[in-house]
């Protein structure tokens, strides 16, 4: 347990250092969410300036997802391209533990999106921003972390097992913005799409963060969102466990790790 924790923390530290100077990540976590926030400010706040905090949370969520999607896709594949995957798989530490540390780094850095968006809206555009229910909001942020990490742990082996899926990565960015209700409610979407939103932890994260920041959250709403995030995290982890077994099987039994 302690050994695994040390691996997670070491990987986390290394990956934070790498991502902090990676211009692709800087774009995904800082520039793109800020530009989306600028657009949303001019689109949404023209009519209703009280939506400032909604824009901050929503654009921050886009940064979280973009970072998770792209880093998740390349967490394992990047090691493969650099020729370090075999070394990691052969080491006594599990591949999943290493990927968990890398995903934790992405999620942690991605919260910068929300902080930068907050700064943009409050300092540059001078919108009054208040978090109406601060305690539930910050607890919701904490619950969001394992939900996103488990989602990232699902994405990484999925993309490693099926390399052609990584070609779809650009097409997967906006659907989560839409189905997750990051910047508009999913009520705008057709009813048939709602079940898709319900099985996505980012949807529940956006829902509870929007509700607690704007002050519209009831206790039952909050508990429902937290509960769904935890349940979905468990499901993602179970699916991820199966996928990591497939990756390891290909590495150790079929010896096709570099050829997948």
């Amino acid at each position: 347990m302690i050994a695994n924790l040390r691996v997670v923390l070491t990987t986390f530290e290394l990956d934070v250092k790498q991502q902090a100077v990676d211009l692709f990540m800087i774009f995904g976590v800082v520039i793109q969410p800020l530009l989306i926030a600028i657009m949303a400010i001019y689109m949404l706040l023209e009519r209703d300036p009280s939506r400032g905090i909604y824009v901050v949370v929503g654009s921050g969520m886009t940064g979280l997802w973009t970072s998770l999607l792209f880093r998740g896709t390349f967490n394992i594949n990047a090691e493969r391209f650099m020729g370090t995957l075999e070394g990691i798989v052969a080491s006594p530490s599990s591949l999943a533990t290493v990927v968990m540390g890398k995903t934790l780094a992405s999620v942690t850095l991605s919260f910068l999106s929300m902080i930068f968006s907050y700064g943009l809206a409050s300092i540059v555009f001078r919108f009054p921003l208040t978090i109406a229910q601060p305690l539930p909001f910050f607890v919701s942020l904490l619950v969001t972390i394992p939900a996103f990490i488990s989602f990232g742990l699902l994405i990484s082996p999925l993309m490693a097992v099926n390399l052609s899926l990584s070609g779809w990565v650009n097409a997967l960015e906006y659907p989560m913005y839409i189905l997750g209700g990051f910047l508009f409610p999913i009520l705008l979407l057709p009813d048939w799409s709602n079940p898709l939103s319900y099985v996505l932890a980012p949807y529940w994260a956006a829902r509870v963060l929007h509700a607690t920041s704007s002050g519209s959250a009831t206790l039952s709403d909050i508990l429902l969102s937290w509960g769904m995030m935890l349940v979905l995290s468990g499901i993602y982890m179970a699916a991820s466990y199966r996928l990591f077994r497939i990756v390891l099987h290909r590495a150790r039994v079929e010896a096709t790790l570099s050829m997948m």
Binding site: L23, I31, L35, M39, A40, R47, Y174, I178
Partner: protein, 266 residues
């Protein structure tokens, strides 16, 4: 005559080869994901966001704006990578060592991407008609075609300029991503220009696509080619200015790199 045909061969051959070099690794599935599904997702997201902000009646404003803006996918990413790829693949040294006409070589890098970009816009507009109820019944289709062509050429002009930048930096994707999103914000695709401060509006008119998107909206709503001609002329001129700046930089980088022996050094 022989010189002219040789120039055309270099122009067309270079155009096709640079496109193939960029996309030959693609299989059909990722190509569909990148060129058909991803654009649809962008159109849907911003149209829904716009509808949420200003009401469902305004959906066509966002749908058309984003469909035209899609040309930046080929015009910025494609064209830039066609030029930057010469350096990444180690072929720049041969290109600059050849006696081929530099202007034709330079412009040829954009040709197939212009066609590809136009197809992308047509696909985008088709999505808007099929899924978002954009009405094309009053549109002058030849005028719309000309608008798409001019907007695409103009955007590719900026792409050629960015391609030159890619010869002196390793961070070209960061620059491309930023340019693509700046166009999304400031070209009027999603935010009416009148909403921005005056100085931002002036800057927006120095970008490609700004007038092209306006013209496309007008043509689709029933305006004639004559009515949008000033916008299209402005859009074309912006494109020419970017191409000229790009070509001057391209030539300057070649001379400087050869003189300093830094052709492959970033």
């Amino acid at each position: 005559m022989k010189s002219l045909s040789n120039s055309m061969r270099i122009f067309l051959g270079g155009a096709v080869l640079s496109y193939k070099a960029l996309f030959r690794w693609f299989r059909l599935e990722p190509y569909i994901a990148t060129k058909i599904i991803a654009p649809l997702n962008q159109i849907l997201f911003f149209t829904l966001l716009g509808s949420f902000a200003t009401g469902r009646d305004t959906a066509s404003f966002y749908a058309i704006g984003n469909a035209i803006q899609l040309t930046a996918m080929s015009g910025i990413y494609g064209v830039t990578m066609s030029i930057g790829g010469e350096r990444n693949e180690g072929t720049l040294i041969y290109l600059f060592g050849s006696p081929a006409n530099r202007l034709l070589t330079f412009l040829g890098r954009a040709l197939v991407h212009i066609l590809d970009g136009m197809i992308g816009v047509v696909i985008g507009l088709t999505w808007t008609g099929l899924l978002l109820g954009v009405d094309f019944s009053r549109a002058d289709l030849p005028a719309l075609g000309l608008t798409i062509l001019i907007a695409t050429v103009s955007t590719s002009g900026l792409g050629l300029l960015m391609g030159c930048v890619s010869l002196v930096t390793v961070n070209v994707m960061f620059i491309n991503n930023t340019i693509y999103f700046l166009l999304l914000v400031f070209s009027g695709a999603n935010v009416p220009l009148a909403n921005f401060p005056t100085w931002v509006q002036h800057a927006a008119y120095a970008l490609p696509l700004t007038r092209g998107i306006q013209a496309a909206r007008l043509v689709i709503s029933g305006s004639s080619l004559g009515e949008v001609a000033p916008l299209l002329t402005g859009e074309a001129l912006i494109g020419v200015v970017y191409v000229l700046i790009g070509y001057v930089l391209f030539s300057w980088f070649e001379v400087t790199a050869k003189r300093r022996g830094t052709l492959e050094a970033y």
